[in-house]
């Protein structure tokens, strides 16, 4: 059964005008008929629901009753349907791990003493 989105029983919650702005930002699009605009808005709502529920279901955030960024980027990487999002939802690594990676590359390149790494808790985007 079709699920009406929006807590207020409206057929679609996302504003058609804004959806239209995004659609028209594509240079090759000339015009959009009203039905197509409505369907795109509605499809976007279904997409948001699907992305959220899929990520929650398959992610680790639910161990703490949460939906996290990591759940989403995991979905983009693992699930083929959502792979088009991989570039905008990159995985994050801890700064400490990144530094270790750099150190290792350096060590592989030349002979030298390995340094002790300091633990940092900041996340860094790839």
């Amino acid at each position: 059964a079709a699920r009406l989105s929006g807590g207020e029983n409206r057929l679609v919650s996302l504003p058609l005008s804004r959806i239209r702005v995004i659609m028209k930002s594509s240079p090759e699009v000339s015009s959009i008929n009203q039905d197509a605009l409505f369907l795109t808005a509605k499809a976007t709502e279904l997409f948001v629901q699907y992305l959220a529920t899929y990520s929650y279901k398959h992610g680790r955030g639910k161990e703490k009753n949460a939906l996290t960024y990591s759940d989403l980027s995991h979905t983009a990487e693992e699930c083929e349907t959502f792979q088009f999002l991989a570039d905008i939802l990159p995985k994050k690594i801890l700064a400490s791990k990144y530094l270790k990676m750099l150190e290792k590359e350096k060590r592989d390149g030349e002979v030298g003493e390995g340094d002790e790494d300091e633990e940092e808790d900041e996340a860094v985007e790839d």
């Binding site: 079709a2 699920r3 009406l4 989105s5 929006g6 807590g7 057929l11 679609v12 919650s13 996302l14 504003p15 005008s17 804004r18 959806i19 239209r20 702005v21 995004i22 659609m23 930002s25 594509s26 699009v29 000339s30 015009s31 959009i32 008929n33 009203q34 039905d35 197509a36 605009l37 409505f38 369907l39 795109t40 509605k42 499809a43 976007t44 709502e45 279904l46 997409f47 948001v48 629901q49 699907y50 992305l51 959220a52 529920t53 929650y56 639910k62 009753n65 949460a66 939906l67 996290t68 960024y69 759940d71 989403l72 980027s73 083929e80 349907t81 088009f84 999002l85 905008i88 939802l89």
Partner: protein, 143 residues
């Protein structure tokens, strides 16, 4: 924050509500996650539009129509959306038709009052409206 002339973002409040209603009660959504989903939604619109436009071009049309969007969903592997989208579209079309009729009735009423007559030829008017509805697919949206 500077505002760009064309905002390609979707309203945060609406996105948040859609997410909350989809997830079980009480689940926390980090601001980062919410923001990421919003961006993903914008990308989805762009991707769907591009895909739908390809179908329109294949059909040698310059106007994206409902069929193009549905074909795009299939192409993008969101077949699960197609049935609910078709149902919603029917409701939407009925709503739009209802609004149109309401406007016409209003105009008609104004005319009648001017001419000081009451009209009862509603059947003829229904036929007129049906014909105009079929032309809807070619109408362009201009905001």
């Amino acid at each position: 924050m500077a505002e760009r002339p064309e905002d390609l973002n979707l309203p945060n409040a609406v996105i948040t509500r859609i997410i909350k209603e989809a997830l079980p009660d009480g689940v926390n959504i980090s601001k980062e996650a919410r923001s990421a989903i919003s961006r993903a939604a914008s990308v989805f619109v762009l991707y769907a539009t591009s895909c739908a436009n390809n179908f329109a071009m294949k059909g040698k049309r310059k106007t994206l129509n409902a069929g193009d969007v549905l074909s795009a969903m299939e192409e993008m592997e969101f077949q699960r959306f197609i049935a609910p989208l078709k149902e919603s579209l029917e409701v939407y079309r009925r709503e739009q038709k209802g609004k149109k009729e309401a406007r016409k009735d209003k105009d008609k009423k104004a005319d009648s009052e001017e001419q000081d007559k009451s009209r009862e030829e509603e059947n003829d008017d229904d036929d007129e409206r049906m014909e105009e509805e079929e032309q809807n697919d070619e109408e362009e949206v201009d905001n």
